[in-house]
Structures are given as structure tokens and as C-alpha cells.
Symmetry: C2
Subunit: 158 residues, 2 copies
Amino acid sequence: MEEIDRRIVTLLASDGRMSFTDLARETGLSVSAVHQRVRRLEKRGVVRGYAAIIDHDAVGLPMTAFVSIKPIDPAAPDDAPDRLSHLTAIEACHSVAGDESYILKVRVASPVALEDLLQQIRASANVSTRTTVVLSTPYEHRIPELADDSPTGHERTG
Amino acid sequence: MEEIDRRIVTLLASDGRMSFTDLARETGLSVSAVHQRVRRLEKRGVVRGYAAIIDHDAVGLPMTAFVSIKPIDPAAPDDAPDRLSHLTAIEACHSVAGDESYILKVRVASPVALEDLLQQIRASANVSTRTTVVLSTPYEHRIPELADDSPTGHERTG
DNA sequence: AGTGAAATGAATACGGG
DNA sequence: CCCGTATTCATTTCACT
């Protein structure tokens, strides 16, 4: 991916509602050219979608935690993500290297809601849990610097 | 916060570029009414912003890790978030309860880049690190169900 | 808080270099 | 792959309930 696409991606990552007009100004291209590029980035899956960033305190989910899970029966088929996907309090599920198999990021309303959620997680996926409660979040959702070329599987190799 | 605002927040969380026209259709309000509500949600900080969701593989940052940090000198003032904020590979920084003081979520291009980043983290904040590498991400950025009332500090109490 | 209507500005489709 | 133009559609403001 080259310079201008990287710039577009960075701009949209920091303001997902930026207009094509503004993107055009920032990149020095015409509106139709950026429009075309954004649609292509969406189609190729580089831009996977757009989301409002919500203040979880303000919507009644002030408690965040990381829940690491480990299967009770290590021989059983590992379909924990599927078994847990109905629990909407789980914002993310990462398969990880290390002692435990997944790290879940969860958002709940209260300590009691967390207790309840942990029981549901254990029951749904037959796992043990280890929970790390978030006290505060100095920052989140930051934009990385995108540098140089990256393998998209779409560019020409020569 | 009541029903319609919750609906608007949920819709924008799942599609940050949804038009006011579509929001109006989905909520049964007029365009100007939703417009007013969205602006109010933004002003009150319930909606903190908008972001494009990026495929990190496609932009050359295919490696994600969680880095837990612990101060070398527990007596020193704890300004790790400030000391680390210049490292753009750090997407999020959470202060946590437990043995360690912060969990960082980082995105890097390669194992070597992670090694380099860990050295920078240790040097910048005078901390030890414990790193959990993400192997795959079954899901991320999911939208929680927003239920009932939540304390925004803005609604009338009677 | 809500509405509809009017004016501005943005998104999209198109013809062409 | 880029541009400009023309059309359609969304955003924003306003006067009013």
C-alpha cells in the first residue's frame, strides 16, 4: 500500500466521518479520486467498517475487565469463541500464546454483573477464568503510525 | 439515557457513517430530531468520536500483543502512561488491579519490532514487562447491548 | 423535544484524459 | 489512475408546534 492510501487510512481511523471533500483537501487529490480510493480500500477489506467510539461510563457499562480462560478438559475440541459469542458483554476474544488459551475483553455494569458473566463464561465454554479488572484507561483507540509498504496481496510484485 | 438515544448509540457504534436519514428511519423520528440528538450525544461525550476499523494485517501490523508492566522501583512516581504515550505502537493503556500495574495493547510489524518495542517500553518507563502474544482474533470491536438507564449525570432525578 | 421546508454542502455517476 | 461536471441525496438551519 502506498503513501496516499496510508494517509487516507490514517485520517479515517482518526475521524471515521471525515467527508470526501476534506479527505481530498488533505491528500491533494480530487474528490472523485479519493472516493475511488476509499471504496477500493473498503472492498479490499483494509477498511473493515466504521464505528462510533462510545463512552462506556455514560452508557451504564463503567466496568472493564480482561478475562483469561483455560479449558477444564484440554482434550476437548476448542470452540470457546463460538460458545461465548452469544455473550454480548464480551467485546473481543483473542487466541493467545501462553498458559491460557484466550483473552476476553469484557464490559459490564457492576461487580455483580461481572460475577454473573464469569459464571456464564465458565458454564458456556467449560473453562476456568482468571480476571484482571481495569481501574482506569489512560488511553485507548490510538492510531498507529503506518509506515512503508505492507503485504496486502494486491500490489504488483514486478 | 433513554430508549431512543440508546438505539442511536447502538446504531452508530455498528455503523459510524450511518446517515441521519437512515437513523431517522430506524428510530421513527424526523431527520432534524435525530440530528439534534446525535449532536447532543456528541456534546455530552457519550459519543466520543468516530473511527474507521482497520485490518491491521493489511496495513503491515499483523502482530498484536498484550504487554503487562510493573515498575522496577515501586516507590517512584507512577507516570508510565505519560512516559509511554510517544510509542505509537501502543494502541491502549489500561491501569489494572492485580500483580502488575498496566496492561498495554500493542500492534507491531514483526517479532523483531516487538522485541524493539519492549526494550523501548522498559527504558522509557523503568518497568519490567510480561508479554502475551495474540495468535488470532476470533472477534473484536463487538457492540454491547445497552440496557435500561445509566447514570450520565444529565438526566433528571425527580 | 418534536416537525417540515429551504438552503447549503457532500456523495455518487459519468464522460473523458 | 486521475480530473471535472452534473445529478442526487444528506446535512444543517430555521420558523413553528
